[in-house]
Amino acid sequence: MVWIGTIINGVLLGGLYGLFGVGLALVFGVTRIVNIMHGEFIALSAFIALAISALFPSAHPLFLILPVVVISFALGYALQAVFVNRSMRLPDPMAPLLLTFGLSVIVRNLMIEGFGVNPRSIHQGDFGQLSIDVFGVQIGVLPLVTLALAVVLFIALQLVLRRTEIGRIVRATADNSEVVRLMGVRPSSVYNIVMGLSFALAGVAGLMLALRTTFTPFSGVERLLISFEVVVMGGLGSFWGAMLGGIALGVAQLVGLRLNPNSGFLYANLVFFAFVMLRPNGLFGARQ
């Protein structure tokens, strides 16, 4: 019985992991850049959420989503416009990866300087501690809401991409950034929006993380690894693949912790390896 609880909670954790990965999958799918800043952004969003919650201590934590999303979008947009777009015009395909790497170190250390290394968390009422009883299994409300939020955001993202004009423009730019110029589209503007959106998604993930557990400026590096694994398992650029990958890792993580409470991310990492060996192109393969 306790194993069923573990697996259910693993699936719920997978929702958070999927949320970590979807922003990365979006950026990679459109720009072909592996954004190393992504993990730092999850951590930074947690700190931003912390700062906002200090301003509005009585607000329900879920109301923090809107300001976090807006700020994150703006930051992502700005970073892409000022730095990353420039690196994409360079002839070396490794340039954007190395640039985001350098930026990630700057962001991480600015957080260390600005916020210190002590673990923080957001305490807004009891929301983080609520749980419901389903057939004898304790299920946290927060993980449930996180999974629901992840699914809603995934669906929203898919709808935007498939049914709207801006979504069409993004897909076309991802297909062929030169031809799309012949139709009046500026690819760098598209990339700005995509990076903004990616950081907004990371922002939601960071907020959910902050509500669920303690975090430090070092939390980004660990989440980056999970984000990568989720995206790679799903097949670079596939969102539902990332979601399923997240769930697989979430279950592996909690089952592993139950087997050995000191094992950290070991079991999740091993599942990642096994998966990637069996399906080197991920669940839904590489785009084109």
Binding site: R168, R171, D175, V180, R181, L182, G184, V185
Partner: protein, 231 residues
Amino acid sequence: MLLEVTSLNAFYGDLQALHDVNIHVDAGESVALVGANGAGKTTFLRCIAGLIEQKRGGIEFKGNEISHMPAEKIARLGITLAPEGRMLFPSLNVEENLLMGGLSRRPGYWDLQSVYKLFPLLAERRLQMPNTLSGGQQGLVAIGRALMANPGLLLCDEISLGLAPVAIDQIYASFVRIRVEGTAIVLVEQDVKRASSATDRIYCLLEGRVTLQGQSRKLDTEELTRAYFGT
């Protein structure tokens, strides 16, 4: 004059692809640009469309100097390039590809309805993905997509390359309708006979230089062969 190109020189790194090219197109005209592989035809079209930055010379469209404009801006002014190899967006279905063409929302006769009227085949296949279409059908989508922008000047880069004669016929038949609506066309072709039969004037390029220009109907075959091959 709709388009006036003066002393155009274009470069790929150290390689000079176009040498002092002078070409003009009047409103509503259709002009053919022929020549062997590597003569510079595609380079020329890409220069007009704004995709090549390493260039010198004057390019005037409707009186505006566009040689330093980015491709996105040129597209919105009313020049549309249907690129070599058709280059449809593989993740978008037929209708979405067409809609992308109409992004600039320039006013004119061409919209989704009129394009489907011109190419009823596409209406039947509007939700299909490009990789499920034949080469000829993809060619129609490419032209339709270009038309959706209601261009004043349509540049076609070897649209018929690799297609069956029947498909090519259909594409050339559509040019008649396109011209009726007032769009000027620059047609890049290797097939000189086709090109000259569908156009008013013809230019021939060889190694980046204009070696012949004249009326399409009054073409001297011998002169053209010399201009084409450089013998």
